[in-house]
Amino acid sequence: MIKDITIGQFFPGKSIIHRLDPRIKLLLTVIYIVMLFTASGFTGLLAASLYMLAAFIISGIPIKMMLKSIKPILPIIIFTGILNLFFISSGDPLVEWHFIKITDDGVRTMIFMAARIILLICGTSLLTYTTSPITLTDAIERILSPLKVIKFPAHEIAMMMTIALRFIPTLIEETDKIMSAQKARGADMESGNLIHRAKALIPILIPLFVSAFRRAEELALAMECRCYHGGEGRTRLKQLKTAPRDYVAVVITLIFLAAVIVLNMFSPI
């Protein structure tokens, strides 16, 4: 059961969005974020949300998943909403009671900000839903590799991310085993207050750390045996190639960005 957890939130599929070059997808996400932040009015935001909706429908990701990704940031949306509602004093007052003053500007900004945050999360979630963590790591390595000139360790960072992803399930399984072993020795992890329970984690964390270091040592040895010597002169099994569909996607996204900029001029807010 614990072995079946999915890392990240990749949702396998064969849609055109899934098949886009991951580097292009990263680029599209960046353009999309720029689009969201240049939109200064509701019409601009509407254009951006149409773009998002279309992308979501094409990707075939169930709408349920999208809602699930918004759920954890709900408190942030509410918090910023309340701040905007009470601290914007420009515009016509709607409610005035003692020191509380709610204006129509405040309400408008609240809705605008909430919509922007939701769209932002939807966009980045779509990236992680349609791209497996390993492909994403690969894309990041390749995008950052020009920075090697200024000694930026692009390959090393990507390698660390890959190994971390590889060992998450292994270490979870191990934690499970250690917990069972400690329970069998009478460890009590479920009762007591928070401090008590945090202390009860120590007998799990120590063996876990010791074992993780041992694994690291063995892995390093195995990597050395397989001629690993850093990123220099390394080739890859899977080459990333851009296809015509990648360019089409970039063009469409840029059209939307232009549309948002034009719409801004016509509707300031």
């Binding site: 590889r166 292994t170 040895l221 050395e224 001629c227 890859r236």
Partner: protein
Amino acid sequence: MEKFIEIKDVEFSYMNEYDDPPTKNTVLRGVSLDIGRGEFVAVLGHNGSGKSTLAKLLNAINLPEKGEVLIDGMLTSDEEHLYDIRKRVGMVFQNPDNQIVATVVEEDVAFALENIGVEPAEIRRRVDEALKTVGMYEYREHAPHKLSGGQKQRIAIAGVLAMQPECIVMDEPTAMLDPIGRCEIMKTIKQLNAAGVTIILITHYMDEAAQAGRVVVMDSGRVIADDVPKKVFSQMEMLKSVGLDVPDVTELTHALIAEGCSLPDDIISEDECFERLYNLLKKGG
């Protein structure tokens, strides 16, 4: 037979730097061994006999303190040949979990080839070939953590095999596997050896060693026996004195001989034992 590995009077020790004053723990005390191309050698010895240290000398992970190790005529202490040596001598370790680097089977098999800068098309070809050899081709797109121990170990072997090494050193590759996994690995090993790969199998399972072409027994940093399995296992007293066992069938026949049965003292396989006993009982009955 053409010599592939030459180990000449090698000594090796680890330093315990945390002791005060630092103490020296000598692990190998003058080991000499020649291994020919295409041989299947099993190395036996109980814990601390120096067999794992010996294995690490073969691909320049450890360098000998005294003496020298030559792989295909190249000195392991020669930095220039480091990757040539590691390409020729692959290594498989005990715990399959700790030698798999990537999150997809085929990416892991490709790891060594990526490191030595092979062209992508050639990587693809060799990865497929290696996966087919170990019988894991259908699993090429799986995540390693969802496979069984035996399957993971076969992936690890494929990862080494993709380098097209001439020799594979296996350090107790079956120690963490269940009987089915052990069986799978032994089958793979024999198949590789039949295809001409030199195999050095470090093990503490006597029945595995019995399947090798040659058995080397180590004790406290020295080679104390080096012969075909039949000859080595017939020296039951010597093996027991260094804390090793003999295959169950050998022990059985030795006990029967002591009781006066006329059996040869070098039986190491179950089939042979069965046949001899069958004949003996038929004659007697």
